[in-house]
């Protein structure tokens, strides 16, 4: 059976982390859960340790992209064969991890992106769905040659071989677009899987999208 690592980047997520870890462990107890505490100021790291998962702690806050990369690098070192990125805020549904890793286990895909816009219903706020995400999809298509239904999906899974090719450098929120771009650039077999997103707040706002573009643009000059 393939070793599967679930990476949870966490920054001040003490309100939801325990439940998120429990839901993943309930979905499959054999999965390795790696929580990456991004220098939280609350007791996120303590809760993760108490839950008995692997905890990696950033001594300085470096952003979600950096935390995911830390967890992914650790998963590669610990010989995981499939790596899943899963948010700590309780927006994702743990039972859907099986759906997202299925195409990789079956050998049909190297990387699978969760999508809010396929068959399952997510309560995406109207402005975000109709304006922000449409613009983001357009930007992804024009500038990054990425053609996916969900332009900012944080729920994703990939094989170990794919992980070794996905060397993203965006530490903050632009990592999402960069991972998609790298997947297409490296000609990985990419698929989308329908996932449910439970919105607790608006999430990424319009100015956040502008910031992502700025980070991505600067990243082009820092190779």
């Amino acid at each position: 059976m393939a070793k599967i690592s679930i990476i949870i980047p966490a920054y001040n997520e003490s309100a939801s982390l325990r439940q998120v870890i429990k839901s993943i462990a309930d979905a499959d107890a054999s999965w390795q859960i790696v929580a990456v505490d991004d220098c939280s100021t609350d007791n996120t790291a303590k809760l993760a340790r108490e839950a008995g998962v692997v905890v990696l702690s950033h001594v300085i806050n470096r952003g979600q992209g950096a935390a995911l990369k830390t967890g992914t690098d650790y998963a590669i070192i610990s010989e995981a064969e499939i790596i899943v990125h899963f948010d700590a805020d309780g927006q994702f549904v743990a039972s859907e991890i099986k759906d997202i890793i299925a195409p990789i286990i079956a050998g049909r895909a190297d990387i699978v992106f969760g999508s809010r816009f396929l068959s399952k219903k997510s309560n995406v706020p109207w402005f975000k769905k109709r304006i922000i995400l449409r613009l983001a999809r357009l930007v992804n298509r024009i500038f990054l040659s990425v053609n996916l239904s969900d332009p900012q999906s944080g729920f994703r899974a990939f094989s170990r071989a794919a992980a070794e090719k996905l060397n993203w450098r965006q530490d903050r929120m632009a990592h999402c677009s960069e991972i998609m771009h790298l997947a297409f650039k490296n000609k990985l077999r990419a698929q989308e899987a329908p996932v449910t997103i439970i919105y607790r707040d608006f999430g990424q706002k319009f100015l956040g999208g502008v910031k992502i573009l700025e980070e991505f643009f600067l990243g082009l000059f820092t190779k």
């Binding site: 340790r49 692997v54 905890v55 990696l56 470096r62 070192i77 600067l218």
Partner: protein, 111 residues
């Protein structure tokens, strides 16, 4: 020479004196010293030969005066330096992340 040119040159001379003082106190390295010295000398030459620059600007077909063109070039240069600074900052941030990651992985924590 206009009074404005004289004031400009006095200001530049002050900056050059300060530059030599900073070098003597080891507050800046040789490369920085050379860069700023060349910068201020060019600025002084631009002020001294303002009339000739006016002529050159007219010859090149610009309608603005020499001092305006120098101002535009100065602003463009400032934007370029800020951009370079942002890139350097992004690189340093990336290096910090690598160190933080290394520490995190080497100190992994089980209960």
């Amino acid at each position: 020479m206009f009074i404005q040119q004289v004031i400009g040159l006095i200001i530049i001379v002050c900056f050059i004196f300060r530059l030599f003082w900073q070098k003597r106190q080891n507050h800046i390295n040789a490369a920085e010293f050379s860069f700023w010295l060349v910068f201020w000398v060019i600025a002084a030459l631009a002020i001294i030969f303002l009339r000739q620059i006016d002529g050159l600007v007219r010859y090149l077909g610009f309608t603005a005066s020499g001092i305006n063109v120098l101002l535009y070039l100065g602003v463009a240069l400032l934007f370029y330096f800020i951009f370079r600074l942002r890139i350097r900052l992004a690189k340093v941030e990336g290096e910090i992340t690598k160190v933080v990651r290394e520490i995190a992985i080497n100190n992994k924590n089980y209960k």
